[in-house]
């Protein structure tokens, strides 16, 4: 079931036994969907290098595997914009600061914010919307 591209994952819950991953790649299991009650997890195999961030991996996925993945970020490196928050292995983290590991990583949208799509939640103040 591990494929190099967008795939529909059979699991309904993220905490499960994961396939073995080669040391040179990491496996991202990413929540997808536009409604909390109608989502799925997609698996993406990503080339892994020491020090890579989860955001690096998500950006790699968008460029190489599935450009329809919705993520939110701006500064990429500097942890200055503070907009790339998501749930990484169950913890709220800036995806730019969360280190990718050669194990399986589960990335999900913030649980307490309204969902927009995939990993993007509504973190914009009300008075900054149209």
């Amino acid at each position: 079931m591990l494929r190099d591209g967008p795939s529909r994952c059979d699991c309904i819950h993220a905490k499960m036994v994961m396939p073995e991953v080669k040391a040179t790649t990491a496996l991202l299991r990413v929540w997808r969907g536009a409604r909390r009650d109608d989502g799925r997890y997609d698996d993406f195999q990503v080339p892994y290098e020491d020090g890579m961030s989860v955001l690096d991996a998500l950006r790699w996925v968008r460029t190489h595997l599935d450009s329809t993945l919705a993520i939110r970020y701006s500064c990429i490196n500097a942890n200055a914009c503070k907009t790339c928050l998501a749930l990484v292995n169950g913890e709220v983290e800036y995806t730019c600061m969360a280190k990718l590991t050669a194990e399986v990583m589960i990335v999900e949208p913030l649980p307490k914010r309204p969902l927009i799509r995939d990993l993007v939640t509504d973190i914009v103040p009300e008075d900054e919307k149209l």
């Binding site: 020090g51 500097a78 914009c81």
Partner: protein, 551 residues
């Protein structure tokens, strides 16, 4: 944000549109370094001296009226920012000012530690929030400026979260969407530096100037992967501590390229960039295609004394400077060229202004360290005042049919999407590689011609058919498609200008024309004509010899 504040202070009802969240995107927030202003608090200084240094660095191409504006109004903006809450580093009773390369005195203010950008962005966000007449809109990607009857009358943009195109009407528009460093594979940019301000300006009828002058920072961070820091963070380390530049064989090499280094970092930016890339070309680069920057000879206590908490941030990234050298190399960092404006920040299109890095001309062929944030403040302030003044004088317009027409027109090219083609995001990466390989720090005629061909091919064959996902909300394919469209126009402007300038000057280095040509001490001006770029040469704007910037 500075423009919005100045416009509101001058009575204008203002809409502040930002592709990211307001005040969290762009370049300023990433600037960890310094702001150059002739306050003369650290040691005697003058506007004339700052101007002289700026113009000297610009190698004959500065629009000296714009340079003088930056130098003259910089001090007032810095002090204003302090009143608004920015805690500039102080020494006793005065602001602390450091030396930076190219400046003849200590004139660079900063916020500790390496926190200048985030601190000033926070100040401006707070200040913007104090004005009820500034309406902030986040996640709005402007994709077109609408010109009606020769005047800029509004903008069309993508409301990213909802996936809808929206029109915004305005009596005056300030383009302040930053530079173009995202065009390059190696860059220090945030996500939104794709050069859209230049393309939007060009399409609307404004002129661009000096587009060939992209500044490459010689020792940007390449590896190990470092997050939580600006990739160009090593410069202050170099001023304060020195450090050795070594090639992949751990040999010092700068002296092979006509300069000396010896751990003191005397080598100028252009020599350092050239030497590193030539070592890589000769097969003596580091694993990530750069050079090593080595601080192992500096005692840890000195490292900590100079950079305290930053040393811990590095350790969190697995980088122990006392034990491990880092890999560095040239990367795109800033753009000297940009939209051609007068000293009121007005383009030649009535109603259209520019501010910040989007403006071209103030820095000529090369920018001094510390002048970028200064110009962001000064030009923003000036543009806001000009726009407010125009808005006050504006008469109500009757015609608003343009809104529907423009929204329909902007979506027309989207119909050809083919599933099997490269996505807009993949094409952006390809464009970044083209620009890095063929139009990077060291250029030749054949490589630039090749770049031009590949850019045009991507525009005609790639962009038109790039697949766009069908999701409505936060459809990044759609966002990337419009961004790529602008990136291609801006990339073409850079490459065409670089090809036409058959000489080496400042940041524009041609390996096939290694010397400066006095007859080319001129600016290249581009405009959009009959669906393509047209260029001409103009004489640089000079101050009268009796003016020194103080006037």
């Amino acid at each position: 944000m500075y423009a919005a504040i100045a416009a509101a202070q001058n009575g204008a009802s203002t809409i502040l549109l930002d592709k990211s969240q307001v005040g969290r995107g762009g370049a300023t927030i990433m600037a960890q370094m310094t702001v150059a202003v002739a306050l003369g608090q650290q040691e005697p200084d003058s506007v004339a001296s700052h101007l002289q240094d700026t113009v000297r660095a610009g190698r004959g191409l500065c629009n000296e009226e714009l340079s003088a504006l930056v130098c003259r109004e910089g001090p007032a903006r810095i002090l204003e920012m302090e009143q608004w809450g920015t805690r500039w580093a102080r020494e006793g009773e005065h602001l602390k000012q450091e030396h930076a390369p190219g400046h003849s005195v200590k004139r660079c203010c900063y916020v500790d530690f390496l926190n200048t950008g985030p601190a000033v962005a926070a100040t401006l966000r707070r200040k913007v929030g104090e004005f009820p007449m500034i309406r902030r809109i986040s996640n709005f990607a402007a994709v077109d400026i609408v010109v009606d009857d020769g005047r800029a009358v509004g903008a069309i943009g993508l409301d990213i979260a909802r996936g809808e195109f929206v029109s915004v009407e305005a009596n005056a528009i300030v383009l302040s969407a930053g530079g173009l460093t995202k065009l390059y594979a190696r860059n220090s940019a945030s996500a939104n530096m794709g050069g859209e301000a230049y393309a939007l300006g060009l399409w609307a009828g404004a002129e661009l100037i000096d587009m060939e002058f992209v500044q490459f920072f010689p020792i940007g961070h390449l590896a190990p992967r470092l997050v939580g820091m600006d990739p160009i963070m090593w410069d202050p380390f170099r001023y304060k501590l020195g450090g050795k530049l070594l090639n992949g064989r751990f040999e010092e090499f700068i002296d092979r390229y006509g300069s000396s280094d010896f751990g003191k970092y005397n080598a100028t930016r252009d020599v350092a960039a050239y030497a590193i890339l030539k070592e890589v070309e000769a097969g003596r680069g580091t694993p990530h295609g750069g050079a090593y920057l080595d601080f192992r000879h500096i005692p840890e206590i000195e490292l900590r004394g100079a950079f305290g908490p930053v040393i811990d941030r590095l350790l969190k990234n697995g980088i122990d400077l006392a034990k491990t050298p880092v890999e560095v190399g040239p990367m795109a960092h800033y753009h000297m060229g940009g939209i051609r404006v007068d000293t009121n920040m007005a383009t030649r299109v009535p109603g259209l202004y520019a501010a910040g890095e989007a403006v071209g001309g103030a820095n000529g062929a090369n920018r001094l360290s510390g002048n970028a944030v200064t110009e962001a403040f000064v030009f923003g302030h000036r543009a806001g005042i000009s726009a407010a003044e125009l808005a006050r004088r504006a008469k109500p317009r009757g015609r608003s049919e343009w809104k529907h027409e423009s929204i329909a027109r902007i979506q027309q090219p989207l119909g050809k999407s083919e599933r099997t083609r490269a996505s807009p995001a993949a094409l952006q990466t390809e464009l970044q590689n083209i620009m890095w390989e063929e139009a990077g720090p060291f250029r030749t005629g054949p490589r630039l011609s090749n770049a031009l061909m590949r850019i045009r091919k991507m525009r005609d064959q790639g962009l038109a058919y790039a697949p766009i996902g069908t999701n409505k909300s936060f459809n990044l394919d759609l966002h990337d498609w419009f961004e790529l469209r602008a990136m291609l126009t801006t990339a073409e402007a850079v490459v065409a200008s670089a090809l036409a300038r058959a000489e080496s000057r400042g940041a524009h280095q041609r390996e096939d024309f290694p010397q400066a040509d006095n007859s080319l001490e001129k600016n290249q001006v581009l405009e959009f004509k009959s669906g393509g770029l047209a260029s001409r040469w103009t004489e640089p704007v000079r101050l009268h010899p009796c003016e020194n910037g103080d006037a």
